[in-house]
Amino acid sequence: MVFNQACRFSAIVLAATAFAGLLFARSMPSWLAILTVTVLVFAILQTFGWPSGNTVLSGLPNAPSVWNSLLIGAFVLFLLDLTMISRELLPAGIHFLVVLLNVKLMTLHDRRDYRHLYAISLMAILASAALTTDVWYVSIFVFYLLAVVWSLLLHHLTSGPPSANPARAQVSPRATWFITNRFFWLTNGIAVLTFLFTLVIFFILPRISVGVLQKPSGEGLRTTGFSERVDLGMIGSVKEDRQIVMRVELPDQADAGKERFYLRGLAYDQYNGRSWSSGSRHRRSLGGIADGVFAVRSGANRNGYGLSEPLRQDILLEALDTSVLFAAPFAEYVSGDFIGIHVDSMTGLHLPYTSSSRIRYSVVSREHRLSSEDRTAAELEYASAIRDRYLQLPEGSDQVRDLARHVTVSAVTPHERITAVLTHLLSGYQYSLDAETTTSLHPIDDFLFRRKTGYCEHYATAMVIMLRTLGVPARLVTGFLATEWNEFGGYYTVRQRDAHAWVEVFYPHAGWITLDPTPTAASIPSPSMWEGFQRLGESIRLHWDRAFIRYSARDQLAVIHTLREGSDSARDAVSRWTVALGAAALQLMRTFVGQVQTPPPVMTWALLLASVIALSALMLAVRHRWAPGHFTRGMPVKRQQQIVQHYRSMLRIAARRGIRIAPSTTPTELMQHVRRSWSEAESAVVELTALYCRARFGNSSLSGEELLRAVDHIRALQRLARASQ
């Protein structure tokens, strides 16, 4: 390809990349997108000379006045757009930008047009950066970087010598040069270097948060079941929604992911027959005990409850329309980038305001354990405060009461009664999402007596009512039930459809115990390969988010602190990371191959090492093409190519040793240089040169043993070179 053509082509690719960025950010109407794609395709074809002269396209007026009037028209449209159609600066601006791009693509004539195109594409990629934080942006960015390097380089190289009159277009002799292999790899090398520098600078640039013009990006996800009032059936409406709500990591658990994980949201204590609500609106502010760490319970276990081991979770919560913070029951410490946290009377955690962006926080939770007294006690005494609040029943619960009594007829202790109710609900009813409860007047009666099918809300509500009729304090809890473990990233993916409701029962010696009357749903589909890929993509997206999008000054300071702490922790982190990488790679392989046994970590290292060696071998093989003077035309097509290769390697060894070799150094001159500065190698060099000259310039061919002797000389030279270093 000629430089001129290549310059044009790279400019079009640049524009196309910027346009792709805007396209994937879903910010333009489809007609505009299709128009731009056609213009791009047409421009590319024009570069390669496809419409040759006589077609209708040459009839397109090239006069600048036409294009200028188009531009003015576009600007008018932009103003219309701004004021009436989109009413926001960014989308209108993007539309205008794309129209500008199209116009520029059609009028690429002189150098100034190219510069305008570069500026427009830069603004376009900036706009797409403002619109999105998804991980595919990386690929767009990489392509953009490549295209920028090529475009700028070619733009410079097709300019002629700077003349006194800069406005005059210079026809440069370089414009007609061809892109050789060497140039191609050189430019790609420059692009790779630029990319590395970009990464380094990105991680070094100080993050100053002077958010003056902060614009919340995107809206919060709509959630159900976490408002003040929960109607029965609300959760059912999101049971098909696959939107991700949060991701939960359990860093301290070695074998996480095997069980289902409950994430508690809010609890409700008042039921009026159709909806649940909270009786008390009291909230108190949590005190912070350290920088960003809040204690939910001040002091240690006051009530003497038996507690399980502390469970630490790292939660990445998407922007929701509720201010609830989710955690495993029951949260003790919450740490994150919060101004403050409120807790209500039923240990539900709230942020002071709804967050407009993703938040990341850590919770340490401890479950309550059932004590032996509670299990075996014949009667349980409850505090009056508890009884007053958690034994509220709606009207018309007599049927339920009867049912409860009937179910627990054989139970002696309260615990057995509770267990009986649980068992009854678990086994006696069908789980189904089809239940249409919003129109029924007595949804629980319908569920328990008539339909006998329902989902989590029904089961939970039923259990609470039944227990309350038995005099056991219970309450409804809404939250999420995490079942989807992403083995690549090591976290639970919690989606909208994982919204769940369950029951908490009060035991005087143990506190609130979590119980779930909903039978486990239909079989979780076995992880298919496609799902595996999806999960891989998800974890990549999470890491992208953590490493790039959320990279903040705090992260920079953390990095600096880590570096200061010394190399040990860094080494640990690196080894952990590599092991995790190896494990991830193995997991991927497993989904392909289906092996069950876990190979020892040695294997992962071996695999890594092997791939590194393969890569470096490839690079070494390709490196030969980089050395200058190797693009001689007319290489002898004789059998003497081997001796020529040996001679060339001898040249390389000598050059590395410091002997200056110019392209115009003849073999004899080289021998003299060697004699002067590297006398130990003289004999080998002399013999090798003699063999080479005879084979290359004479008419004779070398015998087998002469070639072997040449190889010996080369080896001797290499040994000498290594010895002298």
Partner: protein
């Protein structure tokens, strides 16, 4: 890296503060960076993106900012690589004439191991001034050299010194102009121009010179005489054509050639107000020498105390012109012009041939003491150099 710091140490050896300052100055003049208009626009964009990034805290903006900064860094690195490790050689003539364009050649070698140099623009630095010669190298491969030539014209007699060569490049992106200075000193003496001198005058001189010496027999090529063969004559001198015609042996005699030599002396004494006349005299002497040399006269030049010796041929002419190029006018001082002025001791003898003395100015008593076959005084010089 300061490759050649010895000039600095030589110049400012003992004073450390001065040395540091001069070293910094040295570094500053060796490399410099300018922004082009495109570079300014690029930086404006970068600043804009930076402001946006700081404002919104969007890390993707930071990524784009990092990309722009990365491009700047790469640009700096590559352009530095382009202009370093270049070697320059000048090929200069040994003498040039004033007001006559001459071709000077510059050989540029790229000593980089791998990377070629692109878009190099070279210019001379003459006494601090940058002179653009229109030299542009598109592409110079690693370890290769290229020869570039360009015309120069010297306007005044004296010495033309070319100090440094500056290499600048816009590579790789056309955003920054990187400049490097290389010390490649060179000096060429500039001889006075050769102007046409009135032919009549030259003929006069020649005929006078010849008139003063009678043609006589001797060693040469011009035919002088044909006479009968005498025993003992060189048989190669037999003129066979005449012999065949007259049937008697005839011998050819040639004319002696060595009478045509000339010596020209130039006095360098002149006060400041006679400067133009002095320069004209130098030009006159140079032109005379040129024209006489064309007629293959053996010539000798005496300027103040420099004596070129007798010789002929273009090399000798070159030596004489070089003397004229470097001669300087001396203002007459109180010690008097009579101090060791060899001009005055010129007389006429066969050794010097025909002597001419050019006196742009002289003391009246000194001028009386001058004796030569021909003395050109100021008025005559002005008459001859009217058109110069």
């Amino acid at each position: 890296m300061l490759q050649d710091s010895t000039p600095v140490t030589k110049a400012f050896g003992h004073n450390p503060a001065l040395r540091i300052r001069s070293r910094l100055h040295y570094l500053a003049t060796r490399r410099s960076i300018r922004l082009t208009s495109e570079g300014i626009r690029f930086l404006l964009f970068t600043i804009g993106i930076g402001v946006a990034a700081i404002n919104t805290g969007n890390n993707l903006f930071y990524l784009l900012l990092a990309m722009m900064l990365g491009l700047v860094v790469i640009s700096g690195l590559l352009s530095e690589h382009c202009v370093r490790r270049l070697e320059f050689h000048r090929h200069l003539p040994d003498l040039i004439m004033a007001n006559e364009p001459t071709t000077v050649t510059l050989s540029v070698t790229n000593h980089n191991r791998w990377l070629p140099s692109f878009s190099l623009r070279l210019s001379d630095i003459v006494s601090g001034q940058q002179l653009d010669r229109g030299l542009f190298i598109d592409h110079l491969a690693a370890q290769r050299s290229v020869l570039l030539s360009y015309p120069i014209v010297a306007t005044t007699r004296g010495k033309l010194s070319l100090d440094c060569v500056r290499a600048e490049t816009l590579f790789p992106f056309g955003l920054f102009l990187k400049r490097a200075l290389y010390q490649v000193p060179a000096e060429i003496p500039v001889s006075p121009p050769i102007k046409p001198v009135s032919l009549r005058f030259i003929d006069e001189m020649v005929s006078e010179g010849q008139g003063l010496s009678l043609p006589r027999r001797g060693h040469g090529t011009q035919l002088y005489n044909l006479r009968l063969y005498q025993p003992g004559d060189d048989s190669r001198a037999i003129h066979w054509m005449t012999t065949a015609r007259t049937s008697t042996l005839m011998v050819r005699e040639t004319e002696a050639e060595d009478q045509r030599r000339m010596t020209i002396a130039l006095s360098t004494l002149a006060p400041d107000e006679r400067n133009t006349l002095f320069e004209h005299s130098v030009t006159l002497v140079a032109s005379l020498l040129w024209h006489l040399s064309q007629r293959s006269f053996p010539l000798r030049l005496i300027v103040h105390e420099a004596d070129s010796g007798l010789g002929c041929g273009s090399d000798h002419l070159f030596a004489m012109l070089r003397l004229l190029a470097v001669c300087e006018r001396r203002a007459p001082d109180s010690t008097g012009p009579t101090v060791s002025n060899p001009i005055l001791t010129l007389g006429h003898d066969a050794e010097r041939g025909y002597t001419v003395v050019v006196l742009p100015w002289s003391d009246p008593e000194a001028s009386a003491a001058v004796s030569a076959d021909r003395v050109l005084q100021a008025a005559h010089i002005e008459g001859l150099t009217n058109g110069f």
